[in-house]
Symmetry: C2
DNA sequence: GTCTATATGGAGATAGAC
DNA sequence: GTCTATCTCCATATAGAC
């Protein structure tokens, strides 16, 4: 068997760090910092609109008011810019979500927080930022919504950036309902995750379907319903498993 | 204001029917029919893997064992080939789903089918084909999973091909639980839809997250859990609204 | 840190021979 | 119905001037 060469989806050889010219990952002065984040902002918006491959670095540079050559200078290439966009907000996000879960459990009574409260602590930081965090956050989540459902990145990106906080979340649930099976918990998270990322995408589908009664952009309506909806689903699976065990 | 010219996501003017050379939408002989569907099959697979923009018509033609010029000949262009891929299986799908809902209601007792049974009739034709319909169906649903979460196509494509059957489904639910509000029903469908399309994508994320305990490809496990999970969610929203009305 | 100029490659589409 | 040859355009990336 010939040695395998890593390739991306378009079949071009993937560059290794050693093959790349050295890149300034961090600008040294104030002007450079501005340019760097202007490129990140522009890329975030455009990638969220039409995905990685439909966007060109010329478009990104133009939107950022910068020169196309600067994406190579700062990031090494288009693909690395994409990674930088994903990473930028993930760190802050995970720290806050961890805090929220810990605060909830610390302040709860002897029975601990309810299933609905645990789910809310997990989803609130996300829904709040899509709704009220400004256009950057909205684009970021729309991008997450897209790549989650993609074979190319759905596993790689999501596992890399978000698995630890998800495991933390599932542990909270497990503490609350210890007799719920691991499988039921993982699949429940899968359903929750799907509902969340479709919400992030804000495609306007429900607007047309409901003839204007509901709106994709109305995150408050989702926030009101999702935690209770998902909690009921999980408790149903738990209950069903218990009944089956009892009658066997 | 200058006259608006329709453009696609890359800013190229969208062709109108009149601007295109006439295309053979239907081949006249057996050989042509084979070539046409080979192109559709190849496009379906490749689009599902990396999306519309990452795939080239040269790749599609090569995979189909045909000449690249034939996609213009049969479909008019790459974009029209994409539409043809989406349309091909939608018709069959909608007919079967309609039948399934009607059969369920015809055979039910005086109270009608349960909420869980209605949801199952809606999702079963989809889950069954992703799991057992062969690689073409699997790719088709993976593609649907991707474009649903996309601003560019999430509303346009899904509303166009699937709104009638969704409305039909929501009517069945409404008959069963008439005091459930329209908003709660539409948002419940939104959650169901998100969970479904993430399932279609089969990205392998849950495999990594659960360290192999659960598998994206294990559609049977989803099928076992999803209808009951979603039914419990809907009934929870309905119940909650009733309680709020009672105490106000 | 930024921009100009350019290298290199490949995209989608089509005219016209077969 | 199919394929060859080619048109036109634009992609990413980089060397080197400023």
């Amino acid at each position: 068997m010939p040695p395998q060469i890593a390739v991306d989806a378009r079949g071009k050889p993937a560059k290794t760090a050693a093959m790349r010219t050295k890149t300034r990952t961090r600008p040294q002065n104030r002007r450079g910092e501005k340019t760097r984040s202007a490129l990140l902002d522009a890329a975030e918006t455009l990638f969220a609109e039409t995905g990685f491959y439909a966007v060109t670095v010329r478009q990104i540079a133009q939107k950022a008011g910068a020169d196309p050559a600067l994406v190579t200078y700062y990031f090494g290439g288009k693909r690395e810019l994409f990674d930088a966009v994903l990473l930028r907000r993930a760190t802050e996000l995970n720290a806050i979500r961890q805090q929220e879960l810990e605060r909830l459990e610390a302040n709860a009574g002897p029975d601990g927080p309810s299933v609905e409260e645990i789910i809310n602590a997990f989803t609130h930081p996300l829904l709040d930022r899509t709704a009220n965090g400004g256009p950057g956050w909205k684009s970021y989540f729309a991008l997450i919504g897209q790549i989650t459902n993609t074979p190319e990145w759905g596993a790689a990106v999501m596992n890399k950036y978000f698995d630890p906080i998800v495991i933390r979340f599932l542990e909270s649930l497990k503490r609350k309902i210890p007799d719920c099976s691991e499988e039921d918990l993982f699949w429940s998270y899968h359903f929750l995750s799907g509902a969340l990322v479709l919400t992030f995408a804000q495609t306007g589908r429900i607007d047309v379907l409901s003839e204007g009664l509901c709106k994709s952009s109305d995150i408050a309506s989702v926030h009101e319903r999702m935690p209770g909806f998902i909690a009921a689903g999980i408790l149903h699976l738990q209950e069903r498993a218990r009944n089956r065990k009892a009658t066997s």
